[in-house]
Symmetry: C2
Subunit: 249 residues, 2 copies
């Protein structure tokens, strides 16, 4: 008898932004493999389960992905019900895709339980909709930190005129901003960096694009953070009424 693996999104931080389906999976779990980015309060839903921490925060020591994949497979093969709990959504920069492929290859039954992604919910918590039809036709989610060191095509992203939401972008922020400026984005473009979004410990820095790296350094804003670049940032708390008038006009 083999078990199952649930690849579960824990949401952006606020423990109430988890889905009913995720809670149901946690309640029946024998073991839960947890990332650093998951709010510990969420584990109150699974007092019966063994908890295994497999932190993966950018730059720090973490459990290698291959090792996590093998753990998921071997636990399921022992007949256990395993929850792999990840911050945000498991399939948006969560490496859930890699874990799914490992489970498929091993013939393990699995289910993906999508979560609320930080890239939408964190700006929303400050009154920023990542899309607004008067300001943009869409939104792009990218990572600022890739293992191979490759960069997104920043020039094309500037031309796309979509809102840019950058995950794990603090470390390489100066290079990212330079690339965007080189690609012709305005020095004055509205930007915001938000640490610990949707939590009481939330802190953020709002600045015109060219000033953002300095502002982030000055405020000592660290990871995990979400960076939003685009006209919609004008709607953030504080400038919102003015922005409303500008849009209406």
């Amino acid at each position: 008898m083999t078990g199952s693996v649930f690849l579960v999104g824990a949401g952006p931080g606020d423990p109430d932004l988890i889905t009913l389906k995720a809670v149901n999976a946690l309640k029946i779990a024998d073991v839960v493999l947890v990332d650093d980015l998951v709010n510990p309060e969420i584990l109150n839903h699974c007092p019966q389960a063994r908890i295994v921490y497999v932190g993966k925060r950018g730059g720090c020591k973490s459990t290698p992905q291959d090792f996590i994949n093998r753990m998921l497979v071997s636990m399921a093969e022992k007949g256990l019900k395993v929850v792999r709990l990840k911050g945000g959504d498991p399939f948006l920069f969560g490496r859930g895709g890699e874990e799914m492929l490992a489970l498929q290859t091993a013939g393990i039954h699995y289910e993906v339980i999508s979560g609320v992604t930080s890239g939408i919910a964190v700006p929303a918590s400050l009154g920023i909709p990542v899309t607004h039809r008067a300001l943009t036709h869409g939104v792009t989610f990218v990572t600022g930190h890739t293992q191979d060191g490759e960069q997104p095509n920043w020039s094309a992203l500037v031309d796309s005129q979509t809102t840019l939401v950058i995950y794990m972008g603090i470390k390489h922020l100066p290079e990212i901003v330079k690339s965007l400026l080189d690609a012709g984005m305005s020095h004055e473009m509205s930007t915001i960096a938000i640490q610990h979004g949707t939590l009481k410990t939330e802190r953020h820095v709002k600045a015109p694009l060219s000033m953002l790296p300095m502002a982030v350094r000055k405020e000592n804003l660290g990871s995990p953070a979400i960076i939003v670049i685009g006209e919609v940032v004008r709607l953030a708390n504080g400038e919102r009424l003015l922005a409303a008038l500008n849009i209406a006009a």
Copy 2:
């Protein structure tokens, strides 16, 4: 005494993909304003509330946005606790931003409760992660249907090499595909259109880019649907093991 408005995401369809926070808001609501795209089962969380349907499905008759904004304000001014329940997430093509601005302008207390967006969860339900680090640096969400008739910069989006997720794209699919081909995207690029994703009534059509419009017409696939264009679509059920081998190689 004024009331409050909760701008709430109902998730992609599966009634268990709603958040605890959304359920809590529904439980205390006096009145709930609901879109067509919301699964009626979700209203089981608020038997005490008055339900007002304000459908907005693309192309069909619907309640004008200004009228909805005014309803939200006037109900809150009467002291009611109002939930504005939207399919997916309220701030990703949900016009939640417009409703928020109307509430700010009127001085109404409001809260945004983010939801699981269809653009991530619907592909995930078929085993498609919208990002996979071996295949793309990111994902872009756009609408195929804009009120002003303007189009996204498809050429820049092709150059960005991000996965493209198109909301409300069925109606204009032939034009969208032509724009992507004209911009140099491969005729063979993997694509999928998914109707009623995460529900039992789910249907989908998978095809190379240039064949997608014909395939969608042949299968009579209609709205609401999510269209995904990108290498990650190769991971969909059926081709997944082969895809896994290709990635590993």
